[in-house]
Amino acid sequence: MSHANERLFDHQLAREVKLRKSRAEKDKRMPLKDAVAEFVQDGDSIVETGFAYVRGPMAAFWEIGRQRKKDLVGIFTPGGMNTAWHEFGGMEGCHVAYVGVEMRGLISPFRRGVQNGTLKVYSEWSHGGLALSLLAAEKGVNYVACKSMLGTDIMKTNPYIKEAEDPFTGEPVCLVPAMYPDVAIIHVHHADKFGNGRIWGPAVNDTSICIAAHKVIVTCERIVDTLDIRTNPYQVIVPHYCVDAVCEVPYGAYPGDMPGMYYFDRRLQERVVRVEWKTAESTREWYEKYILGTKDHFEMIQLIAEDEGMNVIDYLKKLEQLACDASFYGLGTWGIGGEREWKYEEVAKRAI
């Protein structure tokens, strides 16, 4: 099997993979466990979607950890808490535009891994540069000529991009080739059983990513009827034909933010990235307790809720509505306002 990096910019391979995919509308619903087992293979490159802790597919990322996938290559635009895979051999290298949690600091496992040489950084990017790389794949062009990254050390520490002379103007431009990751997992508000996915909030790079990636898993807060999607296609950012699996995972972005539904768990994040992941040992302890020690995402949330002595989901819903009233945006008519109570047994049952 070739290394993930050898497949990453291979547009012929990417086309062959997509020529083989069925266009038929078929029911792709399956439990998250099965989707991760089938579509995430050891050594795959896997791209972040959403914006790190905003609409990131966290439940799927924790499930990847639970299944002890090995030697993944991360593509971080930006990257968040899933960099903790590294501590368990889950990730051997990465392509980086940004890894961190902004004001809440750096993410220790990533930092440690790069500093002690156990986590390879294959290429440096700017957010805009990496976004254009994925956009090029979606738009069907070999590369994009852009004005980012020029003149900086990023040009020297990224073997995939090139400086060239614009044949039209003679100016220097940075050429960014189309990138085709092995796996993309996208978390959306609504999806139908075929994989059409609808969001509220910024798409960030997600449409590009879905078309670029060889394999796409869609996780969603709720499965909706296809008629709902087909009569209201606005904000549908994932088309069904690129999707391999659809998993209903309510609160699948936790501890991240799901626009219009629940805010991110800042207290947990801060404590985790600053304190609990400070050393390799403490990261391992945390991981063993919350990820490996729980059978699924819901049990993990339940465990955190018990630790906190409060209903975290309820709290985050209220926090979100401070600034962003779901019904105001029409999300209420989609049926994902604040109406749903957090009851572990029910939600877990719904998600198969």
Binding site: M103, K147, L150, G151, D153, P172, E320
Partner: protein
């Protein structure tokens, strides 16, 4: 009359806000830039427009966001775009000011957010560029905010993540960069700009309680100190009231 009391971070937020003019579009980074932009919006720049790299443009934030991508940044935004769109619009000329942070800034305004020490064998690995490189490559002018220490203001950055004037006059044009480059640096000791001829950092004002000599002592290179440097005006009562009561009532960023 009693003296107005304020914290160093409150001063920084006020200084940042004053640098934003009404009607400007501002590409906002996380942390204090968020506070400064929101303060300007509520004080003297009601027609200011914020742009966030996740794709949000021109929101009316109800409360201070904790992140440049969270849903609080697109409250009442007229449209929510994608990452390539907002950077593309900056290249097209729709972003006047870029607001950034970083671990190091050198005398030509180049910023390091990637690593301390040798890249291949880093002493400290940092976050990487994020949108900072794009913002500094494409926006009209760039404001940098950060702590003022000799190792954070070195003569040369360990790694240039984000372009300033690179290695001096004419270098940005030669490299093919579009935007105007660094404009102001706000530190906890003073406000700096850049000399038009040499592109080197120069002091504009020093904060109350500080002298130009102190600013120089905490700078790892020779700072240009013109004769007309002044003391940074203290925050006014009105600035502090809006900051404390409306922008950051929970003291998330300014403490």
């Amino acid at each position: 009359m009693s003296e107005v009391q304020y914290t160093p971070r409150e001063l920084l937020a006020c200084v940042a806000a004053r640098l934003i003019s009404d009607g400007e579009s501002v590409f906002v980074g996380t942390g204090l830039p968020l506070v400064g932009a929101l303060l300007a919006h509520k004080l003297h720049a009601p027609n200011m427009m914020a742009i966030y790299e996740c794709g949000a443009v021109d929101p009316e934030p109800r409360v201070l966001p904790w992140s440049v991508a969270c849903s609080w940044t697109y409250h009442k935004a007229p449209t929510i775009l994608s990452m390539t769109s907002v950077f593309g619009h900056s290249r097209a000329g729709y972003a006047d000011v870029g607001f950034l942070g970083g671990a190091q800034i050198d005398m030509y305004g180049n910023i390091n957010a990637t690593c301390i020490g040798d890249y291949d064998n880093p002493k400290v690995r940092l976050t990487g560029s994020g949108g900072a490189n794009d913002i500094a490559s494409l926006c009209g002018k760039v404001i940098f905010m950060g702590l003022h220490l000799p190792e954070r203001f070195p003569e040369k950055c360990d790694y240039i993540t984000t372009p300033g004037f690179l290695d001096g006059p004419g270098a940005r044009e030669k490299a093919g960069l579009v935007g105007g480059g660094p404009w102001r640096v706000i530190s906890h000791l003073g406000v700096m700009g850049f000399d038009e001829e040499t592109c080197r950092m120069k002091l504009i004002s020093y904060h109350p309680g500080v002298t130009p000599e102190v600013v120089q002592q905490f700078t790892g290179f020779e700072l240009i100190i013109p004769d007309d440097v002044t003391e940074t005006p203290k925050p006014t009562e009105e600035e502090l009231r809006v900051l404390r009561e409306e922008v950051d009532p929970n003291q998330l960023f300014v403490f």
